[in-house]
Structure formats: structure tokens, C-alpha cells
Amino acid sequence: MIQQSSTSAAQAGGVAAPPPTGTVRLTINGQQHTLQIAPWTTLLDALREYVHLTGTKKGCDHGQCGACTVLVNGKRINSCLSLAVMHEDHDITTIEGLGSQENLHPLQQAFIDHDAFQCGYCTPGQICSAQGLINEGRAHTEEEIKEHMSGNLCRCGAYAGILNAVKEVVDSKSSESRR
């Protein structure tokens, strides 16, 4: 519940009232953050503008492109169509939480190996989405991976590389689990 600060600082003389901010506690990449934000702050804006984790991208801001994909309790969602305040008590993972410069996540390495991007703008969303796909464990064949990655658009059209990169990691996971 957001505690509303007083909005009584009236709109006298056409001066807009200060936005009613409240305290929202988010757990992002294992770290607790206490933010003072307005209730209409989307999870995407909270991540980028308040926590300064700018790996997560804003493409369309309307659920249509997947650039803003993050993991919430291990499940992929579009952070642009969700309010930050809806995610107190949730475990949020962004691209920054998956790997680091020194220690690349297998999907990051596979994206490099397979030339799975050009401009790179869609890439954090693609990789978070692919991690969600792997957590779900439902897509195995190329056709299934294509369908289950369809929520992530790439304006550079790097789809062939993206598919190969995701397939490689999916395959390696399933051979791991057979061992």
C-alpha cells in the first residue's frame, strides 16, 4: 500500500500539486531498494530512472516489443505494462543480474558466438525472455523456440542468430538435465 503524502498543497494559481509519492520496496538482482515513487511509475521506469539499471530497454512502452522483459520470481514479464508498486515482495531479475562483464551468462556468450544482434537494443529483453523460456522448460524444437520467443521483436532482424543462440543454450540445458 502506498502511503499518500498530503496533496493539500493546493493547485492555487495553476501550480500543480506535487506528485503523491510513496515508499515502494523492491528486491532487484538480490538487492533491496527503497524508492520514493508515484503510484503510476511503471516497473520499467522504476528500474531505469530510479534504480539506474538501464540495461532494461524501453521500446514501445505498450507491451508490443519485449525490449523491457525482466524476470519476476523467475517468470518473464513486460515491465512497461506493470506498476512498480505491484511488485513489492517479488524477486526481480534484470539483465544486470544475469551476468557481468567478467562472468558472462551462457545466453550472453551464445548471443556473441552466434552474432545474435546488430544494434543490441532488443538484446537484454531477448536474453531475459530466453532465460524465462528456459525456466519454463516447454520449448525444445526450433519451431517451439520461435513461437515462445515471439514476444520479442528485433528491428535489426537478427532472428536467425537469436534462434541459434537460444537453441544452443536450450540444448545444453537438456543434455545437462539428462546427465
Binding site: 503523491p20 514479464i77 506493470s82
Partner: protein
Amino acid sequence: MNPFTYSSATAVEDAVRDNASHEGAAYIGGGTNILDLMKENVARPTHLVGLNKLPLTAIEPTPEGGLRLGALATNADTAWNEEVKRRYPLLNQAILAGASPQLRNMATNGGNLMQRTRCYYFYDTATPCNKREPGSGCGAIGGFNRIHAILGASEQCIATHPSDMCIALAALAATVRVSGPNGERAIPFEDFHRLPGNTPERDNNLEPGELITGLDLPAKGFEKNFSYLKLRDRNSYAFALVSVAAALELDGDTITDARLALGGVAHKPWRDQEAENLLKGQPATPETFARAAAKVVESAQGYGSNNFKIELARRAIVRALKQAAEGSQHASDVFLNSNP
């Protein structure tokens, strides 16, 4: 987005009370439709009642032998629920045909029923729209109306209901359970959504402040012979131009029971019981299917750019019924439109 206040409810009664005590309040489930509309300034609630902590996520058997889907269960959890897959594979396929994995992880069952039309003029506040602003006119009539209705439209509005899930729910004859300021009630699925008539601003028959708590599926799931056929501009992550939910019960080659509902063609999920009656007792042949399809589109009307939908719907019905009779679709973890 306009400024608003937010509260999170943990019990149904609290959600209903909180909603009723704020003028201009709205519920928020997954947020995938209402936040989109708020960003476009089409929806301007002053207060949001967050539902995601309500204990309505269960999917459990009903005393009548059916299955109850909690209103706050996500579309993804519903599609992949083992009982849904085993007993209601038509619903599994319809849900997976919609939106994207990310959106299905967020979207709730209650929100899916309540999602608003994707009519471009409804979204564009610079144009007239009787649904958004009653009395202002309809931009789609005489405008570009490729995605619009061919059945049951009115001179006020020719919008379509965009849901895939709801087409399966219509075919399965689900019941919508709601709780409101005046208590609880159950609404048969066919009576839930409305035709536009002279009140296109009303999408459905929910009363102000009422909260959807669950969806009851009857015992009969048509798990052997069904098809959800969705036709669209690209084969994934796009709304239906025309979709068909077909379900048959067969005794040998004879159809003993039939359900037929269409999406993308009307202001509500379009179930046609007269066409279903033309199928019952008949042999499962292309001729029978063609008769039912002709019945559905008998009263269809195009508005210019959407004229193609009439023939598309007719053929889609025949194909979906054929797929259902062949038993060629199965519940799965992925929707891969089968187009034999």
C-alpha cells in the same frame, strides 16, 4: 498517465469496498490492458484497486464435476494447468494462441474477459468514438475498418472483442462468477458480453463495482474433437482477424453434440446455436460443415475494408470443424497453428 492513488486488496470484500468508496476507481489485474489504455489517456481512473494479492489464483474442481478457474490465475498458469490440458484442451489452445509468453504470464483470467476493443479509433483520442465518448460518432464506420465486426454490429459501433480465451469459454459454455456491492451472482458466458446497440460504451453486463472472482467450466470439455483456428496477419503475437472455436461429440460419423463460436467478428464472442443445431444429428461431412458455416455468415455485413472477413469466416468454420472431426488438435505447451 493521469495521477491516481493505489491500494492493494487482500480479500474480495475489501477490494469491492475500496472500489466503491472511490469515485472513478478501477480494478487492476495484470495491468496489460488498463495501463496501456491509461498511457493513451483512454482510461483515466482516479484510484486503482490492486487485485494481485487476492486469494483467487486456484484452479480446482467444482461440486458439479467441472473446473473453477480463479479470476486472478494468470492466462499462462491456466493454459498449462494439467486439468485444463486434459479436460479442456480447446481452452489451452485458445489461450496459447493469444498475446505473448510475457503477456500471458501477467494477464489474469478476469482481466482477459474485461479487455477492451483494439479499434484504432477507440485508442486515438483525436478521433470520434461512441465507445470512448458516447455521442461523438464512430470513426470506423466509413473509415478504415479492416479489423472490425461483420456480425451483430450497430450504427453506433462496429468494434470487435479481441480475446482468444473468451471464444473457447463461449464454446464451452462457462459461467462467470462475480461479487459486488450487492452480493454475489453467476452470469452465463453468453450473457456476459454485450452487442453494441445504442450503448457501445458498455462492453458487458457487469454492474459498476462488480468484481469477477472466477470462471466455472461445466463437466463437458469436448476433449477429443475440438479445434481452435486463429487466422491473423502474422502467425504469432497478433490479434485474430477471424478465429473459430469448434467442438464436436461424435458417435461414429454422426455428430451428437456441437459447439461453434467465433472471434474477431463481433462485439462479443460469437456463439451461434442455430448453426450448432444444424450440425447435431448429422454426418460429420464437408457438406454438413458448409451448411453450418453458411448459417453463421448468413446475416454478416461488411463495412468496406473488412468485407473479406465474411468469406474468411465461412472457410475458417469449415476448416475448424474438419480439424475437430479428425481429432487432429491436441493440448500442448505451445500453440502451433495447424493448417492442413
